[in-house]
C-alpha cells in the first residue's frame, strides 16, 4: 500500500502506518470483528478524518492504535509507529510512548479528568511520568503555557475539574495531550458532547495543531461537516472495513462508494427539505454478510457484491475505494454485474 502511493505527493515518511489491522472482541456468540483488515498511512501534520455510523468500529480502531483496547479484545496486523510495531511492543514500552508520542483526546470531557485531582496535579503527574527529572517550576511553566494557548487562564491552574464547563474541560484535555508534544493524536469525537460554538473553537484548535507542531491527527467523527472543514484526508468506515479513503475534498465532491454517497446525502443542512436515510441497519459483526458488507443496504448492489469481497482499487489521485462498481472487471464472474434482485435488498434487516 505504501509503495502504491508513490505517485501521491508525500511530504515526509508516514509517522504511522497501519497494515491489515484486525481487532475482535470475544463474545458468547463468537468473535465480533470490530476492525477487519484496515490499512492506512498518516504523515506528520496530516489530519485524517475517520467517519462512519455508530458501531462501525471507528472508536475501536482509534483505541487499538494506542493499545487501549478493553480486556477480552484481540488485535492482529501491524501498527508501525516510527518504525516500531506497536502490536508487538511490550506493555512498558507502550506506556512510555503514550503521552510523549501517542496522544488521545476523548469524547466525554466531563468524565475524563479525575474529580479529586487539581488541574495542576493532572499536568504534573503527566509530565513527571515521562520526564522524571523535571522540576516543579518547569512543569508548572510548561503546563500553564500550554493551557494558555488553549484559552485557560493561569489563575485557574489549581482549580478542580468540576469548576470548569464542558468546553473548558475539553480544552484542558487537549492541553493535557499536547503538553508532551505527541507526534500522533487520536481525537475520538472530541466535540460530540459540546455545543456548536465550542465545537468550532475545538476544531480550530485542532486545525492549528498540525500547523504549529506538525502533529498527525486521526479525527474520529460522525460529523461530515467537521471533516470537510478540518481534514486533509477522509476515510469512510463501514462494518469494520475502510470502504473509501482519499483527499477529503475529492471524496466529498465525487464519492465513489455508494455508502459514502448515501452517507453524504444523509447530512442535514439548512437546504435539507426531506430527511434522507440509508434503509436497514449496520450488519451483525459476529456473522457479517458475505462479500461486500454493505450489499444488503446498497441501492447499486450487483450479484457479485453478495458473493465476493470487494477489492480495493487506487485512483490516480491516490484515493482508494473497495467496491465492485469500481473493482477490477476481470475479477467478476460472468453475470456478476447484473443488478441484485430488489427483494433481496428489502430483506435487509430493518432496524
Amino acid at each position: 500500500m505504501t509503495a502504491a502511493r508513490a505517485d501521491v505527493p508525500s511530504y515526509a515518511e508516514p509517522v504511522l502506518s497501519v497494515a491489515d489491522l484486525r481487532v475482535w472482541y470475544g463474545t458468547e456468540r463468537g468473535p465480533v470483528r470490530a476492525v477487519d483488515g484496515v490499512s492506512f498511512d498518516l504523515r506528520p501534520g496530516e489530519t485524517l478524518g475517520l467517519v462512519g455510523e455508530s458501531g462501525c468500529g471507528k472508536s475501536t480502531l482509534g483505541r487499538g492504535l494506542l493499545g487501549l483496547l478493553p480486556a477480552g479484545a484481540k488485535a492482529d496486523g501491524e501498527i508501525r509507529f516510527k518504525g516500531t510495531n506497536l502490536l508487538q511492543a511490550k506493555r512498558r514500552d507502550i506506556d512510555r510512548l503514550r503521552g510523549p508520542e501517542l496522544g488521545m483526546i476523548f469524547q466525554e470531557p466531563l468524565t475524563r479528568l479525575n474529580p479529586l485531582m487539581r488541574i495542576s496535579e493532572h499536568f504534573e503527574e503527566t509530565l513527571r511520568a515521562h520526564e522524571p527529572q523535571i522540576g516543579k517550576e518547569e512543569a508548572r511553566r510548561r503546563s500553564i503555557d500550554t493551557l494558555r494557548k488553549m484559552g485557560i487562564p493561569p489563575t485557574r491552574y489549581r482549580a478542580y475539574p468540576h469548576e470548569f464547563s464542558g468546553g473548558m474541560r475539553q480544552r484542558i484535555m487537549i492541553a493535557l495531550a499536547l503538553v508532551l508534544r505527541p507526534a500522533f493524536i487520536v481525537a475520538d469525537e472530541p466535540t460530540t458532547a459540546l455545543d456548536v460554538l465550542v465545537e468550532a473553537q475545538i476544531i480550530r484548535i485542532l486545525a492549528d495543531l498540525r500547523r504549529n507542531f506538525d502533529t498527525a491527527l486521526l479525527l474520529i467523527t460522525h460529523n461530515l461537516g467537521i471533516v470537510a472543514e478540518a481534514c486533509d484526508r477522509v476515510a469512510v468506515m463501514y462494518a469494520g472495513h475502510l470502504v473509501e479513503d482519499g483527499d477529503a475534498r475529492e471524496v466529498f465532491a465525487k464519492p465513489r462508494h455508494p455508502y459514502t454517497r448515501e452517507l453524504l446525502r444523509s447530512t442535514i443542512s439548512l437546504q435539507t427539505t426531506g430527511l434522507h436515510y440509508i434503509p436497514g441497519a449496520p450488519p451483525d459483526l459476529v456473522e457479517p454478510p458475505p462479500g461486500c458488507k454493505f450489499h444488503p443496504r446498497c441501492p447499486d448492489a450487483m450479484v457479485v457484491c453478495g458473493a465476493q469481497d470487494p477489492v480495493a482499487v487506487q485512483t490516480a489521485s491516490g484515493s482508494r475505494v473497495a467496491c465492485w462498481l469500481h473493482g477490477p472487471a476481470d475479477r467478476i464472474d460472468e453475470g456478476g454485474t447484473a443488478r441484485m434482485a430488489q427483494e433481496e435488498i428489502s430483506v435487509a434487516d430493518e432496524a
Binding site: 496522544g103 476523548f106 474529580p115 503527574e125 511520568a129 468540576h162
Partner: protein
Amino acid sequence: MAARSGTLRRYLVVRLLLVIPNVFVLLTMVFLLLRVAPGDPVSAALGGRLPPEELARRRAAGGYDDPILLQYWNYLSHVFRGDLGTTVSDNRPITNILVVNGAATLSLTVVAILVALAIGIPLGLLAARYRNSWLDVVIRIFGVLTYAAPVFFVGVVAIIIFTGTLGWLPSGQQASPIAQATVEPVTHIFLVDALIAGDTESFVDGVKHLIMPAFTLGLLITGVFIRLIRVNVAQTLRDDYVEAARARGIAERRVVFQHAFRNAMVPFVTVLGLQAALCLGGAILSETTFSWPGLGSQLVQYINARDYVAVQGIMTIYALVVVGVSLLIDFVNAFIDPRVRY
C-alpha cells in the same frame, strides 16, 4: 463556568452546626422509644420487690409522675449538663458506665476496625485488580463467609480452639485479675493505662485478651470491607479518567492507587462510618461471647434487669457516638473530595 462552590472552611462550619439538630432529633427518639414501653422505670425494675409506698416515693423522686413534656425537658437539660442519670437497679451513675465500660468498647471496636481495614483493603484491592480470576473468587468466598458467620459462633469456635485445645489465648475479660488489680485506671482503656504505668507484662496480657474478641468482630466487618473496596475499585478502574490516565502513559501502579483506589475511597469512607456505628451493635454480641466488660454487655445486663434508666442512658451514649462518627466521616470526605461543599 460552573458556579464557584463554597470553601472547605465554610463546609466544616455548616456541617458542625448541623450537629445541633442531629443530636436533638436522636435524643428525642431515644426519649420517646423508652416512653412507649408500658409502666415506669421504677416499677419495671423494682416492682414486686419493694412495698408500694416505697415504689411511689421513688417514682416521685425520679420525676416519673411529672407530665411527659416536663420529663422530656428534664432529660434534655440533664444530658446537656453531662448528667445521664443513675441506674435504678444498682444505683450507678451512667457517666461511670460511659467511662469504664465505654473505654472497653472503644478499645475493642477500634482494634476490630483496624483489623478489618488491614485485611479488607488489600484483599478488596487484589480482588478488584484481578477481577474474575481464581484469586478474586477465593477472596470473595472468604468475604461472604466472614460476613455470614455469626459472631457468637465464630467466637465460640475460636475459644474452643485457641483457649481450649491450644491454650494460647485467654477467653474472657480485658486482662487477667492480677493485671487488672495492679494497673491504675487513668483513661480506663486498659492497654493505654498499662503503658502509662510502664507495665509491659500487663500490656502483653491485655493484648492477648484483646486478640480473639477484636478478630472475631473485625472479621465480621472485613467481609463488608472486601466487597465494598472490590466493587468500588472495580468501578473506578473502569471510569473514564482511569482510561484517560492510561492514555497519557501513567504507570499502572499509579493508575491503580492514585486514580482508582483514591477515588474508590469516597463511597468507602461513608460506609466505613456506618460500619463503625454498626460495630457497636456487633460489639454487643462479641462482648457477651467474650465476657468483655463493654457498653454492649452492660446494655444486655440492664435490659435483663428491666432498668430503663440505664438503657436510656446507654442509648443516649450510642446516639451521641453515631453523631460524632458521622461528623468525622463527613469531615474526612470533605478533605478527600473537593466537590463535597455546601
